[in-house]
């Protein structure tokens, strides 16, 4: 159980040791991948996959609760969100290879359809546009990464980033508007 290591790495991270991220990431990665993969294979009940649950589950698995502070948690989520982004993109790209032309289409749907079409291509596009946003506004892009890829709430995002909830909301509003516009005109 790598929780001891992870916990220790988190401590180091809080202490200012940025290197800890490099060691932390692969550990978080494998755990998140395992959990996410399980969910995608339908091992969890219900249609809608709960991103927050994934990240929290990973947290519970990897981090020794007693030893960590809220700061550690914030750091963890920050890393986890980043990792989630990578995992999900991998999945999405893997799917794209199967299709020709990267189209997203569906022949017949009926009422109550939860997933309208194969949105994995959307995910790839969002990721690409987000990368552009990172160059313009790192903080705003981070908010998106935490909220959208990590599935964190406004409060959790505020905690993880060390900013106010109001700021999170403002950044989120603009990011959404800008990303939407960029995607629509892409």
């Amino acid at each position: 159980m790598p929780s001891a290591i992870v916990t220790q790495l988190l401590h180091q991270l809080s202490g200012g040791n940025r290197q800890a991220i490099d060691e932390l990431t692969p550990l978080v990665y494998s755990e998140l991948k395992r959990i996410a993969g399980g969910q995608l294979r339908g091992e969890r009940p219900g249609h809608t996959l709960q991103a927050t649950a994934l990240v929290h589950e990973a947290y519970l698995k990897l981090v020794d609760q007693r030893e960590t502070s809220w700061q550690n948690r914030a750091h963890f989520f920050g890393v986890a969100a980043q990792v989630m982004r990578r995992i999900l993109l991998d999945y999405a790209k893997g799917r794209r290879r199967e299709k020709r032309g990267g189209g997203m289409a569906l022949a017949t749907l009926d009422e109550g359809l939860v997933i309208g079409h194969d949105r994995s291509s959307d995910l790839i596009e969002i990721d690409e546009v987000l990368t552009r946003l990172e160059k313009l506004d790192e903080r705003q892009a981070k908010v998106v990464e935490l909220r959208f890829f990590g599935g964190l709430s406004v409060q959790e995002t505020a905690e993880a980033m060390g900013i106010s909830e109001a700021t999170v909301k403002r950044e989120w509003a603009m990011a959404r508007a800008w990303l939407h516009r960029e995607l629509a005109s892409a």
Binding site: A51, T52, L106, T108, H117, R119, S120, V144
Partner: protein
Amino acid sequence: MNPERWQELKRVFQAALEVPREDRETYLRAECADDAMRQEVAALLQSGENTDFLSDAAVTYLPKDDESAAGRRIGPFLIVRELGAGGMGTVYLAERESDFRQRVAVKVIRADVASGETVRRFTIERQTLAALHHPRIVRLIDGGATEDGLPYLVVDYVDGVHIDKYCDRHNLSVAARLKLFLEVCGAVHYAHQSLVVHCDLKPSNILVTEDGVPMLLDFGIAKLLDPVSMGLETNIAQTRQRAFTPSYASPEQLSGRPVTTAADVYALGVILYELLTGLSPYASANLDSPAAWIKSVCEDDAPAPSTTIPVETPERSSKALRGDLDAIVLKALRKDPRGRYGSADQMAEDIRRHLSGQPVLARKNTTPYVIRKFLARHKIGVAAAALVVVAIGAGLAARLWEARIAARRFEDVRNLAHTFLFDVHDSIQNLPGSTAARSLIAQTGTAYLDRLARDARGDAALQLELAEGYLKIGDVEGNQFSPNLGDTSKALESYRKALPIAESIAARNPKDMHARRVLARAHMDLAGALPFTGNSVEALEHARKSEELFRQAWGAAPADPEGRADLRRAYETEGDILGGARDVNLGRNKEAGDAYREALRLIPEPRPGVPEAERDGMARISLGVKLADRDDRAGRYAEALKQYQSLLELAERIANENPHNARDSGMVGTLLNRLAAEQSTLHQNAAAIENYRRFIEMAEANLAADPNNDRTRTGLTVANKNLGDHYFQNVGDFTQALRCYRRVAELLEWQVRADPGNVVARAHFSEIHEEIADCLLKTGHVAEGRREARLGLEIAKGLADRPGATSDQVYNYAHLAINADPEVLGDVAAVLPYALKAVEMSHGSDPFSLHVLARTYARSGNYRRAMEMEQKALALFPPSEPGKPVSGLQESIQDLLKESRDKLK
């Protein structure tokens, strides 16, 4: 975009969010350094209105890997992966095993929701798609059931993007968007011409491929102008969930009112609105609650598209939309379906006009130019396969043009055409599935005729056409000779409107045989319908009148075969009234027989070597059945059996020769029903069950395809009742009997609701509760049984207490009451007046009512009287031959006689 500009953009944007919407424009003008910045912020603000974007977490973008499905075989296809899943089923991407280049989408019903309703909808989708062949509608390739028995259907896999995304991605100009939209209209119009309403048009159901080809999908809730969506089956509508997508649903869909092709036009309007403006027409609607939002859609007018553009771009400019396109979109979005375009094709035409710089109809009111154009297009409409203007409309339209009545009338006639009225000619009315479509006439046609009646004074020819129009509508509403909707009181209203008009014309023009025939028809139609509301005496008068008039008309043109057929029908009607149909008769069986035989004589004998005309053959069968029925009622069962057998053979032959005529196959069913009943009476049990089941199977399928067909429903009801009786009396299987009776109750309940004026149905409804009660009691469910029994009695008593109650209705109550559990009935003496009345009303010639009276006496302890009645009843039967079976009734009578004798000793 440099960092400073970005920061500035951010600052203004976030500040603008804090400013109330209506003040934003002003704020922006004040705050922004330059126009470009202002446009950017405005664009961002508009983009930010889209609250759905990114509201789902990223992980939900990936579909679940249904590993168990990939690689599985469904029919000749191999599943590649799951594409999506929903409430009703799952859709997979699959390849044809033998040719992996053919990619298809396979939709399978989910096992856990494969209920009757779901399967039915699935079947409808499959049937609908199978019937549609259009380059812009997804093609049905295959269908079937998986190894687990789950239905599936296979369609072309469309690799495309939602139409709105496509337009945005490719930066399509207004003209280009319109052209794409035109193609969609073409597909929708084609569906409408096949009598299919999509009911769920929306951008996600219209995919556009890379090559710019739009495809229409998802006929999952399409309607073949279905009764549920028309609001007739209210009990089902309550338990059913809304299946359409609320944002694109028309006001009538949201308020559960009848849905027509106009609902699709509305949806197209919403789609066009969005393609042109990027916003929903109800973007500023009240979103507090679904109810508030629905109210908005139904009541608040959408803002004109050109007024909703906040930021002008080449693709979205208010200038381009102002005028024509505003008018076109808003016309499609009218709350009243009749105010919209009558068809997707008409909408498309207007768009084409706009594109070629011609005046657009949506902006015009009435001008002679428009009228001329209408009449010209009207001719094309008449030629089209299924959608034809009502014959009265066409005839009247021509006359109105000649008479130069006010332009306002043309609007009416045009509205008539626009709401897809169907011609009530024989060629269409006998096609399976057309019943629901015909009800449109009933609704729109009557209103139209009433309006026209005011203007028709003074023009005799016009008035006569008007009268005929009313008769035609009455036929659709509830005439027993043509496929109808079973709404007798409405039919009577229409017939009664026709009568005085026809009377006055015929009186003023005594030489006019056409007028005379129309008058005769009005009398006959009334005669046919009146018994169903209990007015048999009046009906008989009308029947006799019609015979007289038809005879006169035929006499004036003896070579006309129609004249003969008309007179035949009149006699048949008289026979029906006198005693053909059991429940609505006056109890005069013998005279009925005479009338039927008179009618039979009027059928021309087939010439040797020439097969008999279908119409004559059917007439022969119809009368034959009625005569055989009389034999059955009089106890001559073997005779009746023989006749039914030969009539069945004749009917099967005719049905084979005319496979598309629903009436012919209906007759086969009727005969199967009767044959089985006769076999049951003669205790040929296995044969009876087999024939009943054969018929029931046929009828259930027909009813599913055409749920509004009253005739099919009636046949199915009778068959189930008979089969139930058979199980109950002959076989003693009460569980099976109960099943049959419950189905009967279901069917009758539908009928009673749809046709409150039909006392026959109501009487049956009361009886069936008694039968169900019996079964429940026999299988030990005492409390439930008593409840059912009480319910049935109440209904029957209500009918018997009516001022115009017939002998049958009074009899029914007495019969039910005397058969009821004493616990349920209470005081037997209360039944006596009814039993006496029943006998009195049938002039003592009805053995059934005599028997019931006897039993009532017996139950009250008056065995002497009981004996008297039973002897009277027995006297009505033909002398029983030794060795030949007697009817159940005779047996019962003899039992009671014996019992009474014993008691009196």
